[in-house]
């Protein structure tokens, strides 16, 4: 029962992350859109590593590519790399205090942006604007809140069952 509610929540949050990629934001701000999908993926890679692996990352990345009309496989690639790094350093990341964890997430998101700008440069040599580099910062600031919120939701689901 616990497992079930947890896996439902995983699917819901990841799909919400995919949806958030295409929800309209004020123009100009859409370049700095925090990568919620990656944050959710990091959370589930840390908490339920046996259920969330590279395959999950690939599938949700591909879904996001499909919906946001981007290059097919781009986000899949970026998320697979992110999931790999998180699972690699999981043992350490898990026992970091929250603020230190947020810093690690910032590094991961920054790495993700670098990969993204490399891919963009390869495909149509257009440089990212400076606003795009705000996205990892926003992601870092969001991380503690997201982490605590999902933890609380899971706890409540566990109590109810």
């Amino acid at each position: 029962m616990i497992r079930q509610s947890s896996s439902v929540m995983r699917t819901v949050t990841l799909l919400a992350g995919v949806l958030f990629q295409i929800i309209p934001l004020p123009s100009g701000l859409d370049l700095a859109r925090p990568y919620l999908l990656a944050l959710f993926l990091c959370y589930w890679c840390l908490e339920t590593p046996e259920k969330t692996g590279l395959g999950t990352a690939f599938i949700y990345g591909l879904l996001s590519d499909l919906f946001s009309s981007g290059l097919l496989g781009e986000q899949a690639l970026r998320l697979v790399i992110m999931a790999f790094l998180v699972s690699r350093f999981r043992a350490r990341l898990r026992f970091f205090p929250l603020w230190q964890q947020a810093l690690a997430i910032f590094a991961l998101l920054l790495n993700d942006r670098l990969i993204m700008s490399l891919l963009h440069w390869l495909v149509n040599d257009s440089a990212l604007s400076w606003v795009a580099w705000l996205s990892p910062v926003l992601g870092m600031l969001l991380w503690p809140w997201l982490f605590v919120a999902i933890d609380m939701l899971r706890l409540r689901a566990r109590e109810r069952s």
């Binding site: 990352a57 009309s69 290059l71 097919l72 496989g73």
Partner: protein, 330 residues
């Protein structure tokens, strides 16, 4: 790349982790390559439209709800002001149209005298933009009409300002359009003043077009209006595309590079005009197109709208804000 520690045990451990990683990476890169070279994405999105359309609809929900709330909260005074302003604008545009129609009539007579080809009628359809943020590095929009509404790949879209782009993907009820500012887009243009022809390329930035390789001798200046030249047959001739903002010598010093600002005023939540094919003979204007849900409006390039069209157009006075095609040759 990440290497943890170099002991043999760890190595075999990491090999079992890195193999799937490599497999996924190779798969993703292969996908990207096929999409880049063969437009796999367009086909995939067309096949999966049943899945994608509801998600787009869901994503546009917040902004639609917000605009609904905004309409509800609008004060009576604000609405009256807007109404007054629109009525005034309509009067001005109407007056301009009257003058224009006299000129186009004259133009047509002169063309008849010269035995030149006549300009055909153009059929347009009002379509709303779905408020969804696609990949911010591409200049694309989603239109709220698809194959069921008669949208086809390659149709030009424009708004009150000028040419906006063209349709590249069509699913059942939605379609995706490439804007003229997308890095993948190029549009044949002509300087309205001098008739100098060139091609305007998109840059990926929302407010910039580039015209490269302009000969030093070309008659083109800052502030010139670029209109579609009609070459290639995809865009109707004579519609505004962009205004030249600056001209500089390129690296070789032999040619000039022009930067231009798009004429179309792309605003969220606005409706755009979808240009159907140009009908060669203006006399029997096709009034009924039953399979098209949104009432098609026929703009006569002579500037007049048929009485039958006015009734057919229903409550949308769309014919008034579309500029009639100017003569495409000086």
């Amino acid at each position: 790349m990440v290497y943890a520690s170099s002991s043999a045990k760890r190595f075999s451990d990491s090999a079992s982790e890195t193999l799937p990683l490599l497999a996924y990476l190779i798969f993703a890169v292969a996908l990207m390559l096929t999409d880049h070279r063969m437009n796999l994405g367009i086909q995939a999105r067309a096949q999966l439209s049943v899945l994608i359309e509801p998600v787009w609809w869901l994503a546009s929900l917040p902004s639609r709800m917000w605009s609904g709330v905004d309409d509800e909260l609008a004060t009576r005074q604000a609405l009256q002001d807007r109404n007054e302003r629109l009525a005034r604008e309509l009067q001005i545009v109407n007056a301009r149209m009257q003058r224009m129609s006299a000129i186009t009539d004259e133009n047509q007579r002169l063309r008849d005298l010269l035995n030149a080809t006549r300009n055909g009628n153009m059929q347009v359809q009002m379509v709303s933009i779905l408020d969804v943020d696609l990949n911010p590095y591409q200049q694309r929009i989603v239109l709220n009409a698809g194959a069921y509404q008669g949208v086809k790949v390659g149709q030009a879209i424009m708004d009150a300002g000028g040419i906006l782009g063209q349709v590249i993907e069509v699913s059942n009820n939605k379609s995706t359009a490439l804007l003229v500012t997308d890095a993948d887009h190029a549009i044949p243009v002509q300087v309205a003043r001098s008739g100098f022809r060139s091609i305007a390329f998109g840059t990926g930035e929302p407010n910039r077009l580039v015209i490269s390789d302009i000969p030093q001798s070309a008659d083109i200046r800052k502030g010139d209006l670029l209109v579609t030249s009609g070459m290639g047959g995809r865009f109707p001739a004579g519609f505004p595309v962009a205004v030249i903002e600056s001209l500089n010598a390129d690296e070789t010093g032999l040619f000039m590079v022009g930067r231009a600002k798009p004429a179309a005023r792309l605003d969220r939540g606005l409706e755009v005009l979808l240009v159907n094919e140009i009908i060669p003979n203006p006399a029997p204007a096709p009034v009924s197109a039953p399979e098209i849900k949104a009432a098609p409006v026929v703009i006569d390039t002579a500037g007049k709208t048929d009485a039958a069209q006015k009734t057919g157009a229903g409550e949308k006075p769309a014919t008034d804000n579309a500029t009639p095609a100017k003569s495409d040759k000086p």
